[in-house]
């Protein structure tokens, strides 16, 4: 989604995202029912679904930061979402980088620096390349 430039591209991405993601909630609910007795399912499904509400809360915090980054590198703020994903998958090899927040800051800074000085190709692909390299 970080690479598309028009509505149809975004729509195509969302279709594939939906196809891959659609089975998640029913699938997890189903697995829970295969492991727990009926009076135990409610609490487990609630724990699973509460992750969606926590994600909503974090979504607000991240959107706050992404909105602050609007215009950086000549792109709209939402293009930074892949950057954040790359940060998430980054496994720190240096022992002194301990907290997730530090990793987020480091990687987004690095991505910004790269994308603001590189060619347009690099600008477009840097988030994904970063995601691949850092999660190696």
């Amino acid at each position: 989604m970080g690479l598309v430039h028009n509505f149809s591209g975004l729509l195509a991405c969302r279709v594939f995202l939906g196809a891959a993601e659609g089975g998640l909630f029913p699938g997890i609910s189903y697995y829970i029912t295969m492991w727990y007795r009926r009076h135990e399912c409610g609490f487990r499904i609630a724990l699973f679904f509460s992750a969606a509400t926590i994600a909503g809360a974090f979504g607000g915090i991240l959107a706050f930061g992404i909105a602050k980054m609007s215009g950086v590198g000549g792109k709209a703020g939402w293009v930074r979402i892949p950057h954040l994903l790359s940060a998430y998958f980054n496994k720190p090899s240096a022992g002194h980088i301990s907290s997730l927040l530090e990793i987020l800051v480091l990687v987004t800074n690095y991505a910004n620096k790269m994308s603001s000085r590189g060619s347009s190709f690099w600008k477009d692909f840097s988030p994904w390349l970063l995601a691949v390299f850092h999660s190696w």
Binding site: G23, T33, R38, H39, F43, G56
Partner: protein, 239 residues
């Protein structure tokens, strides 16, 4: 479709799980068959059984009525909070507390529902909270006109207290219903495959509520949600 593949994938069932010892496997199987000793076969007949079960269809309608306001929150919360008088970035931050409160009630609601052994009563309770929240919204009219006068003395930031409270009430009313109705459906559909198909039908149909939400809220047609919520209640009583 993903659900179909999940049904075929037996790696995560108690029969094939590698992390269980034989004693543990027996214990898991004993617990499950003690509770619900129904057919675990994979037969295409059970798919049609699920499709012909009116109770699953009733749950599908309940679910779409529930997912419509749910999606409308997820899509438009930043807009709603902005309407309350917050500026752009603060609006994003103010979308956090409703989710935190919703999370708390989601877990505790379902926990006590399990303890008591009732789903419908808890759903009706949360439903009532949601209806109160939506009625507050409708009777208040446009939120920023109603609440703009309230100030938070310490920071000087405009805090629309009642508006935010209303938002919290609506979140508390809607979010806990999702695991409750999910558990309710899966509890009452017997047999592994029929249950899997039933859950997929319910959630799949319910997700169409996202389409409704996308069109309804753009028109600023808030009362529509009231209609959706009220239309659910006959189904609750039918149980």
């Amino acid at each position: 479709m993903s659900e179909y593949f999940a049904l075929h994938n037996s790696h995560l069932t108690e029969r094939s799980a590698k992390f269980l010892s034989d004693t543990e496997r027996l214990e898991v199987q004993r617990r499950l068959s003690d509770d619900n000793g129904l057919n675990e076969d994979f037969k295409i007949k059970y798919l049609f059984d699920a499709m012909q079960d009116w109770k699953i269809w009733a749950h599908m309608i309940l679910t779409i009525g529930l997912f419509t306001p749910l999606y409308s929150f997820a899509f438009f919360l930043p807009t709603i909070v902005k309407d309350l008088g917050y500026t752009n970035e603060i609006a994003q931050l103010m979308s956090v507390p409703p989710y935190v409160v919703a999370c708390f009630f989601t877990i505790t609601g379902s926990y006590f529902s399990d303890k008591v052994g009732q789903r419908g009563v808890f759903m009706l309770g949360f439903e009532l909270v949601a209806i109160i929240g939506f009625l507050m919204l409708v009777s208040a009219g446009k939120p920023h006109i109603q609440y703009a006068g309230t100030f938070f003395a310490a920071s000087g930031i405009k805090i629309p207290t009642i508006g935010l409270l209303n938002l919290l009430i609506r979140y508390v009313g809607i979010y806990p219903l999702v695991p409750l109705i999910g558990a309710w459906t899966s509890n009452n559909v017997g047999g592994s495959m029929k249950r899997g198909v039933g859950i997929a039908m319910q959630v799949g149909f319910g997700n169409l509520g996202g389409v409704i939400a996308g069109f309804v809220y753009l028109a600023k047609d808030a009362p529509r949600y009231i209609f959706a919520l009220f239309s659910l209640n006959p189904f609750y009583f039918s149980y």
